[in-house]
């Protein structure tokens, strides 16, 4: 095969905890193989050495929470051929989108000695609310296997094998016995996108919904079932209002139990 030109990879951070870009470093064994195939041109968490754009692939972590973020994401978009958002923050607004349900001025007053120095938006929103996004990778944090799959598919010009179906299908394929049916544990699995590798159900916990809404989430039916399991409206509201609180389906469901 003819030697293919190494694409330039950039990794960007917006409002986030850095956990998702850490998944790239966490690739360990595969990381060296990856660096043979891509040129890491901008990745401040890994190296101070930066190369100027444009970039072939940009991975964007974090949500948009300040006026400065809005300006910067537009610049990133302009410099990027393919833009992939990674993680719950970048794809739905993240846990910091809890601010969307309250008054931000109250928060800044409680947290900062000088709230007048804080220049922030009233909402935390997904990158796709501001610029065009080519692919969204879910999770809090993302799965390193899925990250490699997206990069691999992009390098080889094929469709990434990233399912949009429920977490239940992942549990059943793996042989994990349903926590909700067998133990009565409230589980978000039926409305949550697969991809985590059944982390919580595999450890006898209900799904917390880190991967956000699946393709066609019937949140109302699941919420009604949570009620049958003995959950009160506040519990139900909180189940839907976590890492992906601002994802449309979860936001609407949580608001109907507030």
């Amino acid at each position: 095969m003819a030697e293919r030109k190494k694409p330039k990879l950039a990794v960007w951070k917006f409002s986030s905890c850095d956990g998702c870009q850490l998944s790239l470093i966490d690739c360990e064994d595969e990381l060296l193989a990856l660096t043979e195939e891509v040129r890491i041109s901008y990745f401040l968490e890994a190296t101070r050495k930066v190369e100027k754009g444009p970039y072939d692939v940009s991975l964007v972590e974090g949500s948009v929470t300040t006026p400065h973020d809005i300006k910067r994401i537009r610049e990133v978009r302009k410099m990027s051929k393919v833009l992939v958002t990674i993680g719950a923050c970048a794809t739905s607004g993240g846990i910091q989108a809890l601010r969307n349900f309250k008054n931000v001025k109250d928060f800044t007053r409680y947290v900062y000695a000088h709230p007048e120095y804080i220049d922030t938006l009233t909402t935390s929103t997904a990158i796709s609310d501001h610029v065009a996004v080519d692919f969204e990778l879910r999770g809090c944090p993302i799965s390193k296997h899925q990250l490699l799959e997206v990069l691999n598919a992009t390098l080889n010009g094929r469709r990434p094998n990233i399912p949009r179906h429920s977490e239940c299908i992942e549990c059943k394929r793996k042989g994990v016995v349903c926590r909700m049916v067998a133990t009565g544990t409230a589980c978000m699995g039926p409305v949550v996108q697969a991809g985590c590798g059944t982390l919580c159900p595999g450890m006898d916990r209900g799904c917390y919904g880190c991967f956000g809404p699946m393709e066609t989430p019937n949140t109302a039916s699941l919420a009604a079932h949570f009620k049958e399991l003995g959950k009160d409206p506040r519990d139900i509201m909180r189940l839907f209002r976590s890492y992906n609180a601002n994802a449309e389906a979860f936001r609407q469901e949580s608001e109907s139990h507030g």
């Binding site: 179906h165 066609t216 039916s221 079932h225």
Partner: protein, 374 residues
């Protein structure tokens, strides 16, 4: 399952030691022995090495959306009803590599497949599960689309069936004509007599007879046989599916009940995953980073996922009602046209393991109850 050639074999009685000898004998004969065991708060079918791995003293309570293990007083080894998943995951695994290829010159070469895994022996297969295997034999034996992997695993498998001693809360095998009596499709059939801690065993094939001949057994008396027959008589399920109504579903494509069930249906796909006859899959291609080798994989998929019906231009069944309708109508109605019988064996798993407890028998009855929607 090397031929069922001696159905009239004489019944014998073996104790738990004899059953242990059977498990050990199969293991020594090169089989991977798979049987019921308790894991994750349920009975699952997994690797076992002795009777100690069996769910001694465990039964289950099943209803729509609810499964609980319960202690039994009689110490029965097979006192549960249907396990969390059937034998499908062993005969038709959730993820199968179809082939691996490597780039060569301007084309590619297909790499030789890895050596075939050892044959499997299944301990504790119920009547409905034998019926499910028979359904898959038809599906995967289809001349236009044969499935050699399934056929190889199935032909090599040794089947120890166990007749149910009681019905589960969601099963309806009698309606579907699939149980509870075990009549064919086994190498050895067992009926457990828990009060005495023994089993009445019958060979269904020469391989089964050979295995039994190697074990310490006693001839079954008429009293033993009568006791065994009484066990299965008490296993007829209360739940009923009207098969004529079920078959008529495809004529009710616009019934308003589809909208009702869609309000509850999570489209999560659990019903299709636990169904012992659902066989739909998707095929994925993957590559290594360099693009030098690639692999084609088949994974279990579901008619409840959007991508499953995605064709050029979009998904065919975007609404929950159309996906639920597709599943149940294919299973109960169109399956007759396609494979010459129903796709449902009445195991009740889709009812138990539906998180919100949608009951396939209730849906059929509700749709049949009115003549609308034609």
């Amino acid at each position: 399952m090397p031929g069922f050639d001696s159905p009239a074999a004489a019944a014998v009685v073996l104790d738990k030691g004899g059953l242990d000898g059977l498990i050990a004998g199969l293991g020594a004969g090169g089989f991977r022995v798979i049987g019921p065991t308790v894991s994750g708060d349920a009975v699952v079918y997994d690797d076992i090495t002795s009777v100690k791995d069996l769910p001694a003293g465990w039964g289950d309570e099943q209803q729509g959306g609810r499964y609980r293990l319960v202690k039994r007083q009689d110490g029965a080894l097979f006192g549960y009803t249907a396990g969390a998943q059937g034998w499908k995951r062993h005969l038709y695994p959730p993820r199968q590599t179809l082939f691996t290829a490597r780039r060569k010159d301007k084309g590619y070469e297909v790499l030789p497949p890895p050596p075939a895994p050892p044959p499997m022996a299944f301990i504790g297969v119920r009547a409905c599960e034998l019926a499910a295997m028979a359904v898959h034999d038809r599906v995967f034996g289809d001349k236009t689309a044969p499935e050699p992997g399934y056929q190889r695993r199935r032909a090599a498998a040794f089947v120890v069936a166990v007749e149910c001693g009681q019905a589960g809360g969601t099963c309806f095998c009698a309606s579907m004509g699939t149980g509870p009596e075990v009549t064919a499709g086994f190498d050895i059939k067992l009926v457990e007599l828990p009060a005495r801690g023994v089993f009445v065993a019958t060979a269904g094939s020469s391989a089964g007879a050979d295995m039994l001949a190697r074990l310490k057994v006693a001839a079954a008396t008429e009293a033993d046989k009568a006791e065994a027959a009484r066990r299965v008589a008490g296993a007829r399920p209360a739940k009923i599916m009207d098969t004529a109504q079920a078959r008529g579903l495809q004529a009710k494509a616009e019934h308003s009940r589809w909208d009702e069930v869609a309000k509850r249906c999570l489209t999560c796909g659990n019903c299709t995953m636990v169904c012992p006859t659902c066989f739909c899959s998707s095929v994925e291609d993957s590559t290594d980073l360099k693009g030098e080798t690639s692999e084609r994989t088949r994974t279990w998929d579901s008619c409840f996922s959007i991508d499953f019906s995605y064709i050029h231009g979009g998904a065919v069944r975007t609404q929950a009602r159309s996906r639920y309708r597709q599943w149940i109508t294919h299973k109960l109605s169109a399956w007759h046209d396609q494979f010459g019988g129903s796709g449902c064996v009445g195991c009740g798993r889709c009812i138990t393991w539906c998180p919100v407890g949608i009951d396939i028998t209730e849906e059929v009855a509700a749709i049949a109850a009115s003549d609308q929607g034609r």
